[in-house]
Amino acid sequence: MTAGAFLQSGLLPEGLNVSFKLAPAVLVVAMLALFLGIGYAFRVADTEEMWVAGRSIGNVENGMAIGANWMSAASYLGMAALIALSGFYGLAFVVGWSAGYFILLIFLAAQMRRFGKYTAPDFVGDRFNSDAARAIAAVTTFLIGFVYAIGQARGMGLVGLYIFGDVGIPGLSGYQSMVVLMMAITVGYLTLSGMMGATKNMAVQYVILIVAFLVGLYAVGLSQGYSTALPQIEYGAMIGSLSSEFSEPFVNESYYLWIATAFSLVVGTCGLPHVLVRFYTVENERTARWSTVWGLFFICLLYLSAPAFAAFGTDLYSRNIGAVYGDPGMTSAAGDVIVVLATQLAELPEWFVGLVAAGGIAAAIATVSGLFIAGSSAISHDIYANIVNEDASQRRQVLVGRASIVALGVVTTLAALDPAAPIAALVSYAFSLAGAVLFPMFFLGLWWENTNRQGALAGMTTGLIVWTVPMINEVLPTYVGSGEPYSATLAAAVPAIGSALIAVPVVFAVTIGVSLVTDEPDMETKRLVRQCHSPEPMTRMQSAEDVAATDGGEPGDD
């Protein structure tokens, strides 16, 4: 990956004004207070509400929640960073992270809603009648939350530097101190509010982050004379004046890596547990479909703007600081804050730059919320309540859930102190994992009723292995070795960032093959799958299991 090798714990974005600034600090504190206030107003105690917000969320609101939950620091900061640093390759992220929603919509969204279970591990466990499968899915969910959140912590740490400067925790660099501070805030906020608060917050968070991003883009474009009414289109005219690295195809990375990355991000989108949980929160399957369309619309607002921001930032950087490409070129730390850096270099007022930075923090907190909730429910609901202690009281489950949120926060913080790669790349590792392990289970589980327990177990294990090998090959060395992959050949053939391109076909083949040579699943399971595809409407609180167990689908029953 781009320039991952020489990153050190003292990450410092060159050109960024690192100092304590009052107005932006007040803005961030006010924003967090608002989140906490809303979280408090919608505080909950019982588990049904905590996990799926009582299934009471409608189209547009759920669309916004999908958007906020989705758009993390990787979208807000990391995408523009990769477009600026890696040129045309960066567009693989724009494409993969948006186009995946269509696949989710046509193959999974409504069926998942009809299945009607709380979490991704619940789906896997119930569909394949296996606690082992549930446990693998739960561990995967936890792992995804962890890997994904490292990127968010890096983003918050870098952006926080602009706002709070070096807070100087002894023994830590300025960047590291900021990571610790921001993660402490995030975890504190999360333990105080359950998902009801989080979902209400998500609509607010979406509005804050999209306004901050677009206002920032328009202000930079207008003040520098780059654009007027439609920067999302107007930046095209200035591409010719930027270095050729910005737009020339396949100079930084190969065509194969482009396709592998985009494919991984697409299937990862369809396999991410914290995305799927959004479909359980809606009233019916039609709402699940339309809120996906709305969600994609809200996402596109930012995704069509990010390349424009990258183009403006690249131009400002080369005029004010130095050459973007070549040696030394722009560091990945500066790249990751290019959105904030561009507004600062455009000499916009301090509070305004602070607003753009605050948007990045809102994006990171919103996504970490969703991830940690999915991760902690995997632990408390799927592993603790279903396997370890079946008589656990609700109170105890909530307690275990909160403890696992804190645990996730601590390991994420530790891993983010010396991160292995830029934000978007870190996040893509989580996508490869979701695409390799969970997506095939969701897809085959819903679309082929003969997929059975043995097939699922074999498939998920295979997926985990195919994901882990390139991670050890490429990412482990950045923590413990020279930074170079152990095997360059393997890194080229199965890149960690796009390993799902190899994993998905292999996992499909293994799952289907093993399912064919072992016994078919029982009739009850088949009826469950059939109920997910029946066009017969279901009531709000029904799950496929309820209907399949009775004769709810008999003709003339309506």
């Binding site: 494409v95 948006s98 390349p307 009723e449 109920q531 009531t539 399949a548 003339g556």
Partner: protein, 145 residues
């Protein structure tokens, strides 16, 4: 196309507005029909999968087409577009692919609603709650559509 499983003509008691597809839908027990992506077993599934696969092919072309063309024929694909000034490949990938996915999503959701219409299926609280199970505790309703 229409398979007669249990669907005899004497069920026509409820007015002429019911289409053949809707009647067929009422006569189908979806819990007894196999689910297999490659082998749809009900008329509804067949119609639905036609939409799904059409969308999928269009999506694959919109998303991976331009990149592949750029790889195959970099010359013409990187030419500057008139008026907009974009290199063609950059425009098709940065704007065409996400925009295309959005348009296709809208198209699919509309198509799927039409299918519901064709088969006489209504969503929403009214008809859907016919089973009347006691679990409908959350009558407070969230914000709706």
């Amino acid at each position: 196309m229409v398979d007669g499983e249990g669907g005899d003509a004497s069920t026509e008691t409820d007015g002429g507005t019911v289409t053949g597809a809707a009647r067929n839908h009422r006569d189908t027990n979806y819990l007894e029909r196999e689910v297999n992506l490659l082998n749809p077993s009900t008329p509804f599934m067949r119609d639905h999968l036609r939409v799904v696969w059409t969308g999928f092919v269009a999506w694959a072309l919109v998303v991976f087409g331009p990149v592949t063309l750029t790889f195959v024929a970099p010359g013409p694909m990187t030419a500057r577009m008139p008026v907009l000034g974009f290199p063609l490949h950059y425009f098709l990938v940065a704007i065409g692919a996400p925009g295309g996915a959005l348009v296709l999503s809208f198209w699919y959701a509309r198509k799927r609603d039409r299918l519901d219409e064709k088969y006489g299926i209504e969503h929403g609280r009214g008809p859907g709650t016919a089973a009347g199970d006691g679990s409908a505790v959350a009558a407070d309703g969230g914000a709706d559509e």
